[in-house]
């Protein structure tokens, strides 16, 4: 009986920990307007680092993780290896990671891309694109876009990977 009570207490506390983590990483954490959440993801067409066309419309039907980042941004650098791993893990189920670098030029981005063995397309961002996504006035900012092309979530600041992965799994299950 007592062991059962202890187990219940542990489960309740674990659930509390999860909830705190989830909320602290959620969209409205910093009071940032999340105008694009639950609306159609603004389309864009850019050139990736190899000069190939990178258009969001080409990934319709997939779950897209859109990461606004920069090489000089320490939390962004911490996130990249996790995004590489997520791309490997969930590619077959339909996940596509896209990186939008807010660096002022391509040189450091190319070097970073090689060094971190990035396995998803990266393009240099523009002022217009950042504004279309509600303004990128601090990094990192990560969006999750569902198979239906709707923005499902926006994370401002370094995202908590277990929370992100759970959201990705949930979006991948939706057909």
């Amino acid at each position: 009986m007592r062991r059962a009570v202890l187990i219940v207490v542990a489960i309740i506390l674990a659930a509390g920990i999860y909830e705190v983590g989830r909320r602290s990483s959620a969209h409205s954490k910093l009071g940032v307007p999340s105008a694009v959440v639950h609306s159609a993801a603004p389309d864009f067409s850019l050139q990736d680092l190899d000069g190939q066309s990178l258009a969001l419309a080409n990934y319709r039907g997939k779950v897209v993780l859109l990461d606004f980042w920069a090489t000089w941004c320490a939390p962004c650098r911490d996130e990249i290896p996790h995004f590489v791993a997520l791309q490997n893990e969930y590619r077959e189920q339909g996940l596509q990671v896209i990186g939008i670098s807010m660096d002022d030029g391509p040189k450091p981005v190319r070097e970073f891309y090689q060094q971190f063995k990035m396995n998803y397309p990266v393009a240099l961002g523009t002022e217009k694109l950042a504004e279309a996504y509600g303004g990128v006035l601090g990094l990192p900012v990560t969006f999750l876009i569902g198979r239906d092309g709707q923005v499902a979530a926006k994370y401002v600041g370094e995202v908590q990977m277990p929370v992100l992965e759970q959201e990705i799994k949930s979006l991948l299950q939706a057909k």
Partner: protein, 182 residues
């Protein structure tokens, strides 16, 4: 038998208390980390420790808070500072402080060179405010090198705008004066 039962109950309560204490500590630490707390209760990250050792630790005299800068800029009286943006250009283009000048990223040698050129002809007592806002304060790679450069050049009235999270959260979304473009 009764004594055994009391002992067992005490032990049970002790177990619950220990479990709850550890969980509470874990939750607090996790929440602090997730929110980038800089308060006394937060466990300092290596970056925070590095910056705490510098002159630009939160609360230091070299910093100016957004609300104080707004008051200075909006006041009809008093000396107005030369406000210099030492952050990334793409962020500046989206939103910046009216009247501020774009210099270049402080983490970049070209940005520092550009800062050097801009301030070279100025009197060393010029009131200068540097700002970036690209990332949370403890992660900003730009303000410290820019500040160091001005300090090295002999400027004695330099403040750095304290932006805790980013320029959006701590300036734009607070409704402070903002313009975009060049």
């Amino acid at each position: 038998m009764e004594r055994h039962s009391v002992k067992s109950s005490v032990r049970f309560c002790f177990d619950v208390a220990v479990l709850a204490t550890f969980a509470a500590l874990f939750v607090t630490a996790g929440y602090a980390a997730a929110n980038g707390w800089t308060g006394p209760g937060a466990a300092p990250t290596p970056q925070m420790q590095a910056q705490s050792a510098s002159e630009l630790a939160p609360g230091s005299a070299q910093l100016i808070n957004p609300e104080d800068l707004v008051k200075i800029l909006q006041s009809p009286k008093g000396e107005k500072p030369l406000v210099l943006n030492v952050g990334p250009h793409l962020l500046y283009m989206q939103a910046h402080i009216p009247g501020s000048e774009y210099i270049g990223a402080g983490s970049d040698s070209q940005g520092i060179e550009s800062l050097r050129r801009r301030v070279k002809p100025l009197p060393r007592k010029t009131f200068i405010v540097l700002y970036c806002g690209c990332c949370p304060w403890s992660h900003c790679p730009n303000v410290q090198p820019a500040y160091n450069e001005l300090h090295k050049a002999g400027f004695t009235n330099v403040k750095v705008l304290y932006i805790a999270d980013n320029f959006g959260t701590d300036w734009v979304y607070k409704g402070y004066p903002t313009i975009k473009g060049q």
